[in-house]
Symmetry: C2
Subunit: 143 residues, 2 copies
């Protein structure tokens, strides 16, 4: 999570909503690390989670990342939760909860339906205060 938070700080410095993500396995191998790039790429799908999944796919190939943990500073949105389900990521660790756009504990609650193809192990609220403070500072600075 510390690496993900550092990436979120880099996002904020670049004028992006501060979100960072890391995809790793149980042996501590980091396959990919990325920050939110929506504004710099002008691509609404360039969320940190989507980028680490795409990078890991590029490096490893293979359809499923069941042996992997995706660590991200913010509760994933519906797009990212869908991608996590598609790749059958084994474990999801996130920092701040996101009542506005989150789709794990809020809104569509992607993994809470009988039709979900996959439900990862989920640990939310890890270093929540730090992850949340970054976001609050960013949006306060925008006002």
């Amino acid at each position: 999570m510390i690496t993900a938070i550092e990436l979120a700080c880099q996002a904020a410095e670049a004028g992006e909503v501060p979100v960072g993500a890391v995809l790793s396995n149980d042996d501590g191998v980091i396959f990919a690390a990325a920050r939110n790039c929506v504004e710099s790429e002008q691509n609404p799908m360039a969320h940190a989670e989507m980028l680490v999944l795409a990078q890991t796919y590029a490096v490893r190939g293979g359809k499923y990342f069941s042996d992997c943990t995706l660590t991200v500073t913010l509760e994933p949105c519906v797009l990212c939760a869908g991608a996590i389900a598609a790749f059958r990521v084994g474990k999801l660790v996130f920092g701040a909860y996101d009542p506005k756009s989150g789709a794990v504990e809020h809104g569509p609650r992607v993994f809470s339906h009988a039709t979900t193809h996959h439900k990862p192990e989920i640990i939310g609220g890890v270093r929540e205060a730090e992850c949340s403070a970054l976001l609050k500072a960013f949006f306060a600075g925008k006002r």
Copy 2:
């Protein structure tokens, strides 16, 4: 939808779940057309809808496709519905309903929550019988 159905047929011939999609605008300009490529690319995100969105982004750039219609032979899953919301696609037209994996009229009902960032105009069940027959024939052949 006829083009999307043709692409779905091509998918079936290639051993893929038969789903096809087209992204166009109101002037009839087709920005992208694609079939499901999950097996050929061994990529669980290579759904027809994701491919037309990515292709259109590559061609047009820009964050939003509010002036566009995404036409697809099957009710989008949660990943694709999330991508449609992210790109703020103006209109979604789909063929067969998908009680198992659909996320528009089933399961997480992505566009039905107060937290959704965007809800396209939605027309489901267009040429439903043809779209559905293709899927049924494909899965019957698999058994």
